[in-house]
């Protein structure tokens, strides 16, 4: 294998027989679940109303009303069909897509069931999904920058948390933009520490990341307890307000969802496009990836492996810092202890699910963002499920996705190994 091969052009994905069958059975199981839990108890006359109103728009679209039972039959049949095909033929390299499709149908069935006889604001939900996906996608990009260069980064959580706090304090004493800069620099500093421990001292990268995570929890709780709680003036940075893009923001339905957001959402889309270009269309990206795939070959060709890795991890840290700033400057406008609540690890799962591609990571981020928004949206409905279980969904989805996907993700070949120059 040469280092110049783009990951995009690698051969067909090999899906083992047993995994194919297991997935097929899982898909059929999902169909059975829809029938068992949602379909049986539903009154045939009930209707579900999906409101398509994301808020703020002048153009109003009619609500989407459908018969709950018919829709559930349709979805169960859809899952069964995908499962059957998977069992018999298999989707090959489109297995992820099938997985996502079945997942989507199951979730929609759940929503249709939960909102039966009532209404659910689908537009609002999509909006929350997009917003909640921001830290996950940006975190995944951070992980990607590091791991494409061959350094595992499980410290995204700690970097985000620290950056969220630093951004808040700096933003409180100066202004939002300087606060954002502070957050990015704080993330970059932790990235530098991760790089020094894991590249220079060749410590196991996962342990090095754990060091940063423990440190981040300790220092943020310490500073927050010592300074931010007694002195609230240090915990009041304000937030980046949404900015409506002229014309585009007036598109019915999609306009308010996509084009009426704050800095972080637009930046996420920008970075996804930008990094895709940088990774796969520039010399910089080729070198970065070669260092992650085959550092010795890269070194032979004159790429400075150590320096490239340092740069990648520091940039990754800065990206995580930017993601961390979202929690405070882009969302609630104040810092709480351990407010990232495992999002850094979910971001890692999003990165793996997205197969180390920026666009893939964004799709995965949207998926996790959606599961995150479930609890918020369904709390308003009279669902028979305790809210605690809804709050579990992002974590459960992460585990399920990892189980279904991880064996097939094409991770950089030299990931996790310190480079020893001979």
């Amino acid at each position: 294998m040469t280092t110049t091969t783009s990951t995009l052009e690698m051969g067909p994905v090999y899906v083992p027989q047993t995994r194919r069958r297991v997935l097929g059975i899982v898909f059929l199981g999902v169909a059975a679940l829809i029938w068992l839990f949602f379909l049986r108890g539903v009154d045939p006359a009930l209707e579900t109303t999906m409101r398509l109103y994301p808020g703020g728009s002048k153009v109003v679209i009619d609500d989407w009303v459908f018969n709950t039972q018919n829709m559930l039959w349709l979805l169960a049949a859809g899952c069964a069909a995908v499962g059957g095909f998977q069992l018999v033929r298999g989707f090959g390299r489109r297995t992820s897509l099938a997985f996502a499709l079945v997942g989507g149908m199951f979730v929609f069935a759940f929503l249709a069931w939960a909102a039966s006889g009532g209404q659910l604001n689908l537009g609002g939900m999509l909006r929350i999904m997009l917003v909640r996906s921001v830290p996950l996608t940006l975190g995944a990009l951070s992980g990607m920058l590091c791991e494409r260069a061959g350094v595992f980064n499980i410290a995204i959580e700690g970097m985000m948390l620290t950056a969220a706090m630093v951004g808040t304090i700096v933003g409180s004493v100066s202004n939002l933009w300087i606060g954002l800069l502070g957050a990015v620099l704080a993330g970059g500093l932790l990235g530098l520490i991760h790089a020094v421990i894991s590249i220079k001292y060749k410590t196991d990268q996962i342990i090095s990341g754990t060091v940063i995570n423990i440190f981040a929890v300790g220092i943020t709780s310490f500073v927050s307890g010592k300074f931010m709680q007694p002195m609230p003036q240090f915990n009041d940075p304000g937030i980046f307000v949404p900015y409506e893009i002229p014309l585009l923001g007036q598109i019915p339905f999609l306009g308010p969802i996509l084009f009426r957001n704050n800095l972080f959402v637009y930046s996420m889309i920008f970075f996804v496009v930008f990094l895709t270009f940088m990774f796969f269309r520039t010399r910089w990206g080729l070198r970065l990836r070669s260092v992650g795939e085959h550092p010795k070959a890269a070194d032979t060709l004159g790429v400075n492996v150590i320096r490239t890795r340092y740069m990648a991890v520091i940039l990754g840290g800065m990206m995580a810092g930017f993601a961390g700033a979202y929690f405070t400057l882009g969302s609630v406008g104040k810092f709480d202890q351990v407010m990232t609540a495992g999002r850094g690890f979910i971001a890692l799962a999003a990165m793996i699910f997205g197969n180390y591609m920026p666009f893939g990571a964004m799709i995965a981020g949207l998926l996790f963002g959606f599961s995150d928004s479930l609890a918020a949206s369904l709390a308003l409905l009279r669902v028979k499920i305790p809210s605690e279980f809804l709050l579990m969904t992002p974590y459960l989805v992460t585990m399920l996705v990892l189980a279904g996907v991880v064996g097939r993700a094409q991770l950089p070949a030299a990931g996790g190994k310190p480079y020893e120059k001979e």
Binding site: F152, I154, I197, Y201, K202, T203, D204, I206, I207, S208, T210, V211, I212, I214, F215, V217, G218, I219, S221, F222, V223, G225, K226, F227, A341, G342, F345, I346, L348, A349, I352, P386, E388, F389, L391, M392, Y395, L396, T398, M399, L402, A403, G404, V406, G407, A409, L411, G415, G416
Partner: protein, 416 residues
């Protein structure tokens, strides 16, 4: 170079010189220096964050440094008094001859021992995982599951004699933790989903589950707070002294379990297999060991040990389940397991250290207003120095070790 060496050898070595040479070559030096450096850096943070420091800094930096050092020194004195007790108080207590006063004077010391017991179980859990090549960050969630199971057994079954009820509740806790370790173990072995991510997800699921249980099915009747009923007296681990000393049987159970873990890891074939899977999975597979079973068993056992930590806390100290019964024992245990070189004896020693630190820090928080989270910061430093001995060696200008140091490696996302 070689001349001076032989000269030095011919000269009669002084006792202190021998001592230091031995110390330098021993594997104890790095942990000790790591602890010392961690404490120093923690003190630095306390100094810099003290009001006397940053308010005086702009007018007279020198005085500010003095103030900061004073603040750090005072808080460490408080920490030690909080961890070991106050000697003058102890002496006065003996003079007074009143049993209650004596117990109060010695309470800090015993409370530190009480605090170190969950660390022992949790540290053994992480250590066992590391030995088998899995990184269990889910100890915190497993502690919660252990707590839930043991408390449920503790208050549901009535009229059992303690000799049956205590082991029953304790083992139920172990079972709860084992279940929470089994799931990520299974996922890792069968699908390659990395245990670091999965165990952390399981932590959050355990928190939410606890929230729900305490809000609905396990809520204490008639209480407005989210707490469980108090366990039966027959399920409480016996305490050795009267109030206020809470020192209980769990301490000795922990020591016994540590011996058991040592025996299992180093004296049985199963333990050998686990360690081989951890040290070199390829060699293990070549030797015909079953890696799938090994991984699942390691995670389940690790979870069981963590579950015992939860059971120990609830049966020995708290006696009812609440959301805040574990102040992060599970996360602290990662640092202490590595500090103890993932060996049961080392884990016991570093658990004692962490127990005394945490108990002292509680006092420090109460009297000096220093958030207890400073402990986590110190742990991060200690962990960094333990994991990267080269840093310690650079700081203290030590020689390279003669033997290669055992390196800790965690397998990546790729599965194998």
């Amino acid at each position: 170079m070689s001349d001076t060496k032989t000269e030095a050898r011919d000269a009669k070595p002084s006792a202190i010189g021998v001592f230091f040479d031995e110390l330098r070559g021993s594997s104890l030096l790095i942990p000790i220096l790591a602890i010392v450096s961690g404490l120093l850096l923690g003190g630095l943070i306390v100094a810099v964050s003290s009001k006397d420091f940053y308010e005086v800094w702009s007018t007279s930096p020198l005085q500010a440094i003095g103030n900061g050092l004073k603040a750090a020194w005072e808080s460490y004195v408080t920490l030690f008094a909080g961890a070991f007790g106050n000697p003058s108080k102890m002496a006065a207590a003996f003079q007074s001859g009143d049993a209650l006063i004596i117990r109060r004077a010695f309470n800090p010391f015993f409370e530190s021992l009480v605090k170190s017991v969950p660390y022992m179980f949790a540290g053994l859990a992480v250590a066992l995982g590391f030995r088998a090549g899995v990184f269990n960050i889910g100890v915190e969630g497993q502690i919660f599951m252990g707590g839930i199971f043991s408390v449920w057994v503790g208050y549901t079954f009535k009229g059992l004699p303690p000799i049956i009820h205590i082991p029953f509740a304790f083992l139920a806790g172990a079972l709860g933790g084992a279940l929470w370790g089994f799931i990520p173990g299974l996922l890792k072995a069968k699908t390659g989903g990395h245990e670091v991510i999965n165990t952390i997800m399981m932590n959050y699921i355990a928190y939410r589950l606890t929230d729900w249980l305490l809000r609905e099915p396990m809520k204490r009747p008639g209480s407005t707070n989210p707490i469980s009923p108090i366990i039966e007296d027959s399920a409480k681990l016996p305490q050795f002294f009267q109030d206020p000393i809470r020192f209980h049987l769990g301490f000795f159970i922990a020591l016994a379990v540590a011996v058991l873990v040592y025996w299992f890891l180093f004296k049985t074939t199963w333990g050998f297999n686990l360690r081989t899977v951890g040290a070199n999975p390829r060699a293990a597979r070549y030797a015909g060991m079953n890696i799938v079973t090994g991984t699942i068993m390691a995670m389940s056992l690790s979870g069981a040990l963590a579950g015992m930590a939860g059971a120990n806390e609830l049966l020995g100290v708290n006696h009812n389940l609440s959301q805040s019964f574990s102040p992060g024992y599970g996360f602290d245990s990662i640092a202490l397991a590595l500090l103890g070189r993932t060996h049961p004896v080392g884990v016991i020693l570093s658990s004692l250290l962490f127990g005394f630190l945490r108990n002292g820090a509680v006092r420090m928080q109460a009297s000096a207003g220093i958030p207890i989270d400073i402990i986590s910061v110190m742990q991060a430093f200690i962990l960094a120095f333990i994991a990267a001995p080269a840093i310690v060696r650079t700081i203290y200008r030590l020689k390279e070790p003669k033997k290669a140091e055992a390196e800790l490696r965690v397998r990546g996302w790729g599965g194998s």
